[in-house]
Amino acid sequence: MKNRLRKGALLSALALVVAVPAAVPAAAAAKATITMSGSTSVAPLAALLARKYLSVCRHCVNFKLLQGGSDIGVADVAAGRVTIGNSSRDPKPSDPGGLVFNKIAHDAICLITNRANPVPGIDQAGVKAVFGGSVRSWSGVPGSTQSGTIDLFVRTPASGTQDAFQKIFMGTTKIFSGAGQKASNGLIEQAVQSDPNGMGYVSLFFTRNVNVIPYQGVPCTLRNAKSGQYTGVRNFYMVTRGPAAGAAKRWINWITHTKAASKIIATQWVPLS
């Protein structure tokens, strides 16, 4: 369902690129063009927002939306190839200088176990011990109804979700190298769903058939993520070279300050306020 939505969003993004310049060729010369590249996680949201923005601010701007991954977005904007680089990860020390990361939304990451094993809660030390591989048995996890070895399911190294999990939950602790790696959120959910000893982490959307573990005493829900009580939340950024200016500034302000924008974000993500 989410994938379909995202595909729809991507298609409409492509359509935007093609249709918008064609529709108003006369006005195009006077109009500013905002080009974006980067995170594939942010892209669907950016496309939905851009479509709405065009309907409220008719003929005031052109959009071009490309993808490629957070690192591409950051590299592109640093080199001046695009106006905005989309990023689903936080700034890295190795990023080029002079970049401004404009936060536009949040996305919650939930810890999950099998329905047969409703772990009542876990804190960061617990997550580090389990995913780091120092606690390998469910008997070492307080409140677990299972016994035996813990089956961990994580994402592949290239995944942005993996990057966010490492930073938010694990800090500097390395993830257990024997953990099963899955290529998507859906595969992690499926693996945990069919394995009573399983544990993994997924985006909030993929939690319908599994048990969601409260993290540091706070259940992983959209509401708690919105209120800021749930801390397992990653950020979506629009990165600019130097502070945003002109059309890009108005566009980012519109995303962060209008009700219309936060309504779109709230359908699948967490608005800033």
Binding site: G69, T156, A158, D195
Partner: protein
């Protein structure tokens, strides 16, 4: 009449000429495309090989950690990380492909012999279309059955808590395993081999086996000593085709054989079979998300280059094998 005939023949010749040129161009285009593909893949892959040298093919360290480090390379091209010791992936590819091929060859030879020589007509009429149908089933369907049925079954019923505990600090046994990978891959490639070998056995001249029968051997022995021997080039061709499909199988193996770059250890005894492993093709598919990070993309292309090379060697080895068998076979007549 003859005049009419020659009048008719002239445009026909021109049609032939046009066809010849068109088909020739198409064939050259295919060759060019292949050449371009090879150059492209290798030029993309080169930095990964160049930075590691022969150590690329060796073991040492954890492949997943190496991939992760490559992915998190600093932005400056001079600081790109390339360290990769791909042995566990190569080993997993050879192990899963090799064992599946052995199983598939045995099963397909026996069942083809049965279909050609022993099966009752009614049974044969059912068996042959079913085998062809199975050969055409898309691999992702096998993958789905594997991940939804076989993997949970192996994980929850076959693997014991003791086995899991015995290796729990090294590797996780969750059902995704070389056992399931080999089983599903064997089921996938066997029908192709059965279909080809059946045709080949049927093409053996009746007089040859009848000659054997006239000398007093039974049907089983005639088939084994005359039929199978004559069909050997076709059997090699079938094996090459099946191996090619097995080598390139990515989605299904990524789903069922475990996505950990782990080298299963035969010294673990029975546990060996339920340990996970990840083939080259599955690694490429799993990590396609990171292709845009330059050194990471180049490493992925290096995996692709190895697959490309192995399929060339495979075709070449098949050709050599067929050449050396020619004297026993139909072509030798």
């Amino acid at each position: 009449m003859s005049n009419h005939g020659s009048h008719n023949a002239k445009p026909k010749d021109r049609t032939d000429q046009r066809a010849e040129v068109a088909l020739g161009a198409l064939a050259s285009a295919v060759l060019l495309l292949i050449a371009f593909m090879i150059v492209f893949v290798f030029s993309k892959a080169w930095p990964s090989f160049a930075h590691n040298g022969l150590a690329w093919f060796g073991g040492g360290g954890n492949v997943d950690e190496q991939l992760s480090n490559i992915f998190n390379s600093p932005a400056n091209p001079a600081d790109y990380v390339y360290t990769m010791h791909a042995w566990p992936l190569l080993y997993a590819t050879a192990l899963i492909t090799g064992v599946s091929l052995l199983l598939a060859t045995t099963i397909s030879l026996l069942s083809a012999m049965f279909i050609v020589e022993f099966a009752p007509d009614a049974m044969r009429r059912v068996l042959q279309p079913v085998v062809r149908l199975l050969a055409a089933v898309p691999s992702v369907i096998y993958g789905l059955i594997g991940v939804l049925v076989l993997v949970p079954f192996v994980g929850n019923q076959v693997i014991t808590a003791g086995q899991k505990e015995s290796v729990q600090y090294v590797i996780q046994l969750d059902g995704t395993s070389i056992l399931v990978g080999i089983l599903v891959l064997t089921v996938m490639i066997t029908p192709i081999m059965v279909a080809i070998v059946t045709d080949a056995l049927r093409a053996v001249p009746r007089s040859w086996t009848e000659g054997a029968a006239a000398l007093g051997v039974n049907r089983w022995r005639a088939l084994r000593t005359v039929g199978l021997r004559a069909a050997r080039p076709a059997i090699v061709a079938a094996a090459v085709l099946a191996t090619a499909r097995a080598l390139g199988e990515a989605i299904m193996l990524s789903m069922v054989s475990g996505s950990v770059a782990f080298a299963p250890n035969p010294l673990d005894g029975v546990t060996f079979f339920v340990e996970p492993a990840r083939t080259l093709a599955a690694t490429v598919v799993d990590n396609a998300e990171g292709l845009s990070v330059k050194p990471f993309g180049q490493t992925i292309y290096a995996f692709a280059a190895i697959l490309l090379i192995s399929s060339f060697f495979l075709s070449f080895a098949g050709w050599v094998a067929r050449q050396s068998m020619r004297k026993y076979t139909l072509q030798a007549r």
